[in-house]
Symmetry: C2
Subunit: 336 residues, 2 copies
């Protein structure tokens, strides 16, 4: 009998997670009940929001209980189905979690299991530009940040799954597009492969001055994935009527005390707006996002890069690496 | 020959202004040049934003130079006119400043001199509900804060010129309307005269707990006139998709070091939006604001209260009192 390896939340991290916070267990492969579908996961998406799941009530997502399997989206293959809409062999997007096999319910359960068209785009794209990171980039930039030709946008985590897409969409709208990333290699990639006008290394000496120099006309949009010291450097450069769209606060998830917020006297003086957003609030925009992103991907207008770790057992290590900024592109685990 | 008393900015305040920061001088009454209009001021509006004028480059308004006459809006009477649009005896709204007489230019100079209809509303109303405070309340609440029936709004400086109007407009839209003010007398006035559902005394022990109790369903809109510790108490009570409209930061104008900003992890979790706004950016909405506010005032749907100090020489004292929250209603100086 096949076994189902599962990675559980063993204990809540204090600050940055460590390998000891996770536990791998082996259980029997579950049997789907009436109306349920059994899938075998092929790729697992690792995303910064998962850090929030590990804390008790601190983040924007409902936390996991201790001993629960780590949450996450997967691309998977249907193994057995008790629902007429799914057949063995179908490739699906699934709320498959950090495990080999998952029992899923078809829609209207949320998040819904759904078939994906691997002719439209390869499987991993459904966890990247056609998945949560793609929707986030699309809705956050195009629907919320009011991009205007010739204005300046700053995108933190510029080579990350969301940031890399935001930069490319911003360039296609003719914005002066400045990325922020950690290290010269990532910065070079952002400019050469993704088309950012410039990319500033936040780990280098004189980061704030370099950012200011890269934005001679100030900053009109900050697509914020990181927060902390990054936002602190962006804040005084914000122009009148600037928009700050907070998609993530990667630098703040592992802090044990809150990072001080931005100075509101500057917000008032500059008529700045800041808004936090979570893509799952914007479900009605997602079909359009998928349609447009798939077309742009097929036309070569969008490039993506995956950072794939092979083997479920290495998911904790890949996840911790991503939180340290060691990934280079969309962080994925491929099931061996 | 008549003299023109003028109150100048003598030195920049360190923190809260003192009487020593102002100087009263007497100069000859000026003569209007070609196309100019000479007015004699009758009422001067004192507003918190003026504190910002006194600092060098720190606020959202262009600072005054030392030795310049303090800026401000007045209701005035035309004394002599070299412009066909104005005649002696006309009552006007003027950028009249802290002085007996002012030479003004008619439109298109900004801010423009303009005739006011004292049959529509008494002169002081043109510095209150039909003036800058009225436009600010109208645009900030109705155009920016998305008021929705049954939601909860918190209004700081609830008896102030702006806050008192915001509360009345919010009640007319059927919001649960909670004021914040300093002292039991103001709180009683906010509830009894202005119709706030509750008003919480921020000077009393247990302010934050009392605010939470007054907002059993959380807070959907914060119309923020004060900032500082007030916003700090509001912040954790904000609901999902709450809107914070920052109209002023009275508690922060006199600080010598910046107040820490709000925690953005909560902003992200709750999908909060914050925006700073300045009414002069919304000029196209002002005619509608004046029309609606005049009608509501005539119908008795809006009540106002003026706090009038008589004598230009007492303007500094009245201004400092207002910054300490000693005013009760719209702060005005009546020229003797």
């Amino acid at each position: 009998m096949a076994t189902n390896r599962r990675i559980l939340l063993k204990q809540r991290p204090k600050g940055m997670p460590t390998l000891d916070d996770f536990e791998l267990v082996e259980t029997p492969v579950p049997t789907p009940g009436p109306g349920e579908v059994l899938v075998r996961n092929r790729f697992l998406s690792l995303d910064p929001y998962m850090r929030g799941l590990m804390d008790a009530g601190k983040s924007y997502v409902t936390p996991l209980e201790l001993g629960q399997v780590m949450d996450g989206a997967t691309v998977a293959e249907v193994v057995a189905s008790n629902d007429a809409g799914f057949a063995p062999g179908d490739t699906v997007w699934a709320p498959g979690r950090w495990q080999d096999y998952a029992v899923c319910k078809p829609p209207p359960s949320r998040p819904p299991l759904r078939k994906i068209d691997t002719k439209l785009a390869p499987p991993t794209a459904w966890l990247g530009p056609l998945g949560l990171p793609g929707w986030t980039a699309y809705v956050g930039l195009l629907n919320l940040a009011e991009p205007r030709e010739g204005q300046t946008i700053v995108v933190s985590s510029a080579c990350g799954a969301v940031g890399g897409l935001v930069g490319q969409l911003a360039k296609s709208r003719a914005l002066h597009t400045v990325g922020i990333a950690g290290g010269q290699q990532k910065c070079a990639y952002a400019v050469e492969a993704l088309g950012f006008d410039q990319c500033i290394d936040y780990k280098a000496e004189g980061f704030a001055a370099a950012l200011a120099e890269a934005c001679p006309n100030g900053i009109d949009i900050d697509f914020e994935n990181v927060g902390g010291g990054i936002l602190q450097a962006v804040w005084p450069l914000l122009n009148m009527n600037a928009r700050v769209v907070v998609s993530g606060l990667m630098a703040q998830y592992n802090l044990t005390k809150p990072w001080p917020g931005p100075d509101l006297t500057w917000l008032l003086k500059q008529r700045i707006s800041i808004r936090g957003f979570i893509i799952t609030d914007h479900a009605t925009s997602i079909p359009q996002a998928i349609g447009d992103m798939a077309r742009w991907l097929a036309e070569g207008k969008i490039k993506t890069r995956d950072d794939i770790t092979v083997g479920l057992e290495r998911a904790p290590e890949a996840f911790i690496g991503m939180l340290h900024g060691k990934n280079f592109g969309k962080t994925l685990v491929e099931f061996a």
